[in-house]
């Protein structure tokens, strides 16, 4: 197999993987973040303390996490078809990927949010803030470095699962490696793909680490390490 031939196969597959992982990540964060926050809020001593709800959420999350991904994928077949209109292709693969990643991500977020200093929660309560204020202005912003690290971990886990999803009709790099490397004994090609996945994973990890460092360094290092630059309050102190 020539390099040109490899490339011709690789780029579309890479694009498929990125789309699959990208869309699943967005969906996972959108749904998993509230779930993780809810797990903290409904726990004992939380602002929405509710033992039954907390127990049920916890049980559902644990159950979903203990299902092997391949089983989850098969179990979700008809749901996927109903939602996406097909059970093949990268679009279809995003459904089980998202469903599988939500509980994983939610647990990570739960840990991140629980680590926010209890004193900050009290400070907001003492100011007369409600639960929504607490979540939006304190818990999530303060837990943000941890949450970003959790997103990184989740994206990388999704890349791993996307390879598996690929082999059962999802397409992408995993599928390519399986079809050519394993079924057609194109070992060299397989290693090229593995190397490419490794590069993608590394880049994501580095980018994630960088973002976390930026966020966590607010107020420690120099004044310039600021990812979320406060908006337009420059003129106030410029004088």
């Amino acid at each position: 197999m020539t390099w040109d031939q490899m490339q011709e196969l690789m780029w579309p597959a890479t694009w498929e993987t990125l789309q699959m992982v990208g869309v699943s990540t967005v969906c996972t964060v959108v749904l998993g973040l509230p779930l993780g926050v809810l797990l903290v809020l409904t726990a004992k001593g939380g602002a929405l303390q509710n033992q039954p709800v907390n127990k049920v959420l916890g049980a559902v999350v644990n159950l979903a996490r203990s299902l092997p991904f391949i089983i989850l994928m098969i179990a979700l077949f008809s749901f996927t078809r109903w939602l996406v209109g097909s059970s093949l292709g990268w679009q279809a693969a995003t459904v089980p990927l998202t469903v599988g990643a939500i509980p994983f991500f939610a647990r990570l977020v739960e840990t991140n949010v629980r680590e926010v200093d209890r004193g900050l929660v009290e400070a907001v309560q003492a100011m007369g803030g409600n639960t929504w204020t607490l979540v939006r202005k304190t818990l999530v912003p303060e837990a943000l470095p941890g949450i970003v690290a959790s997103v990184t971990t989740t994206v990388i886990a999704l890349i791993g699962y996307s390879a598996m999803a690929g082999t059962v009709g999802g397409g992408g790099l995993g599928d390519l490696a399986y079809r050519y490397g394993y079924l057609r004994f194109e070992t060299a090609f397989m290693w090229v793909i593995v190397a490419e996945i490794a590069i993608i994973v590394t880049v994501i990890q580095l980018a994630g680490d960088y973002a976390v460092r930026r966020l966590a360094n607010r107020g420690r290092g120099g004044g310039r390490t600021r990812l979320l630059r406060p908006r337009a309050d420059t003129d106030l102190v410029a004088s």
Partner: protein
Amino acid sequence: MITTTDLTKVYRSRGREVTALAGVDLHVRPGEVYGVVGTSGAGKSTLIRCVNMLERPSSGTVTVDGVDLTALAGGENRAGKDLREARRRIGMVFQHFNLLSSRTVQQNVELPLEIIGLDRTQRRRKAAELLDLVGLTDKARSYPGQLSGGQKQRVGIARALAGDPKVLLSDEATSALDPETTRSILKLLRDLNEQLGLTVLLITHEMDVIKSVCDSAALMRGGRVVESGALTDLLARPGSELARELFPLSEFGTGHPGATVLEITFQGDAPAQPFVSQLARTYQIEINILGAAVETIAGRMVGRMRVELPGSRHDNVVPIGFLREQGLQVDVIETANGAVA
């Protein structure tokens, strides 16, 4: 301004009960700085947290500025609307500052203003005013992580003042600070008290804090207030434990066996008389001065002196009476050989 009546708080955890407050009656007058002292575990934090319902009292009532907070719905973890409104009028500062590390100093001060619902321009103006008040204008865009402890507490104070509270609660606000920073924070609190007419309820374990900023104080032990009142009254109260703590003479000698030891307290506006020599002259007795000190407490000069008179207490009834007639406060204290006053 703050009144608690028969306040109790019982913590229950795994069948065990801890009584943190066992019937506390506290009365803080408008515009005063009121200090609460006591040993660790006495219930001081529980008390102050009950004042803004961060902790729901088990029984009793808390009234702040005429509003009975205990009657408002909601509790420790989730407050009802009325309670949240009421809390906006009660500022609180914390031992560990509790500033949001994700926000700049200015944004931290703006947080309560966001909760109140001011728009951006108003928030900015108010935050600038508050930072000016605490002397941190140049740090508006820094993050809490870039500030010293004293600066952080100033931000904490500015934030607590954002809702124009009438009452400021402070739980060991200076305990994490060095003595000099402590002094500057206490001075700030005192200034705010005077400039804004702010009523301050503060918890501390340092008598020096009480001495330098408080008008009144309460001593807590085992969930109860064992002594309370205006400092000037406390100092004039015979056998007052707080007064003795505020003004310790313990490092002085305790006298000889068989002698009578007196502690004489005199306050600034009482004429400074040479009462010792008068006493010696009038009764022809040998007076031994064990120690004396003068300090400023609650803005007044207060002096205390420990003297030893020969003979038992019975022998000295007349001289003691003489001193009391001079308007001095005289406590007869236990002597070295165990004779009780």
